[in-house]
Symmetry: C2
Subunit: 278 residues, 2 copies
């Protein structure tokens, strides 16, 4: 399975322009033989909204959605799957920071971000279900969006349900990273991949938007926790491609006597979950 992660430069509110950037990236990924193409979080709307009204003006329902329909048409034309973030208007009028997965068969998965970051809670409601798991070419794929990935509970639960590739559309706002250190967002992603023995693909933003810059670091991480490509810098936009062996994620053994899942001490963890949290 060839995975392409696309680090895009987008402009908040420019739905047409942003969709065109996504289409361009998908076509370029198809040209290099990608089977699965990953776009960033909120890839149609952009991220740095100035008001709820602006966010609302960028949102569309998940059915008959121009962003998703565009991906679907390309998925059929090029026989590939696309996962990306979009700004969702729900039937009851709420907004969600959502992601969709499409393949030639149609829309395979809609997921609503569960853990909202900073001002997002002014614009979005939070989802209340883990990502569904969808089988693409025999590979079990699920989605987490940005801050979701920083909750080991979420990644563990998806992994225990058999996820082999976790696709992460993200908009990681830049934070201060000490000299010679890798951004902690990527460190957490690496740890999650290795802790659960799964592939994690990350598509972040590049360039600035309304004064906000990004971590960058779009890459594909193997089940041993090491990135398979040099993570893109924050200033870059572009497509990063890696060929992955999804089956590596079905073997959780780490020594002849150790297994990432069987070694969990559920018996003990369960007891302590009863303790009141501060």
């Amino acid at each position: 399975m060839r995975v392409a992660v696309c680090q895009l430069g987008l402009a908040v509110g420019d739905l047409e322009g942003n969709r065109a950037s996504g289409v361009q990236a998908i076509v370029a990924a198809a040209e290099v033989g990608a089977d699965l193409v990953l776009l960033p979080e909120l890839s149609d709307s952009g991220y740095v909204f100035s008001s709820l009204a602006e966010a609302r003006s960028c949102a569309s329902p998940s059915r008959g959605n121009p962003t998703i329909d565009g991906w679907l048409s390309l998925a059929r034309q090029h026989t590939l799957a696309v996962i990306g973030g979009f700004c969702e208007l729900s039937d009851d009028g709420r907004l969600y920071n959502s992601a969709a997965c499409v393949d030639p068969a149609g829309v395979r998965l809609i997921y609503r971000k569960m853990h909202l970051w900073d001002r997002e809670s002014e614009f979005f409601s939070s989802g209340d279900q883990l990502s569904p798991i969808c089988e693409l070419m025999g590979v079990k794929v699920a989605v987490a969006i940005c801050y979701d990935l920083e909750f080991p509970e979420l990644v563990r639960l998806l992994a225990l349900q058999g996820v082999e590739v976790l696709a992460v559309p993200t908009n990681w706002p830049a934070t201060v990273t000490p000299v010679d250190e890798r951004p902690i967002e990527l460190i957490k992603a690496q740890a999650s991949a290795a802790t659960n023995g799964i592939w994690i693909a990350i598509a972040d933003r590049g360039m600035m938007e309304r004064g906000v810059s990004w971590v960058g670091c779009s890459t594909i991480i193997a089940p041993d926790g090491y990135p398979q490509t040099a993570p893109l810098s924050a200033e870059q936009t572009g497509i990063v491609v890696a060929d992955i062996e999804p089956s590596r994620a079905s073997d959780k053994s780490v020594t002849p006597r150790n297994d990432l899942f069987r070694d969990r001490r559920e018996d003990v963890y369960r007891v302590v979950v009863q303790v009141d949290t501060p």
Copy 2:
């Protein structure tokens, strides 16, 4: 609070020599003003046992234990706390890969490693309780040993109970690390610190033992996930010191709207725990 982590070169079976190395390190740490001194896993026995009989010959009960008594005497003499690993013989004749914490008041904590790595299960029984939390100079400290740290459940549960400093005596056997990458054991430790907003102190082994070399990387990681000292290389032995502000671990806020603990979606995680695992 000044923390010293001691990366020691030890020899399996040489109890006297290993204890002397520990004493020497504690005294050196006291001389630079350490309040808390951390020694590696199984710091009295060494690690690479050739047989159960050899492991048994290195084990002592936790009461009247010459290793721990030695630490206690130094703790009183220098007014500091010592945490380190020792080879424990339990009342019922089992062996445990254990750690003790002592301060001038006495033995404050005994913990038995819960997650055993590779051949350890030939020698040791596994503990069945999380580390107690002990308050040292007003700071809440708990212990995890080596492979324990790779289970986010364990670190999360301790953090939710208020741990500010997680002390990790370890013997990380060397694994293949790609060029220009940091060993995944350290990456996981960094992620655990940042995910939970706690300090993590790591004391690993240096030098080789019976053909086994180590990851090294002894260091002290801040609640933002970044090491406060250059991690020691696998070939080095020595003491690494950092001054830590334990109170940084009591503030879990990461933005004015986000909090590492309150943002957890227990409501959702709980539902999915019911799903059968493969």
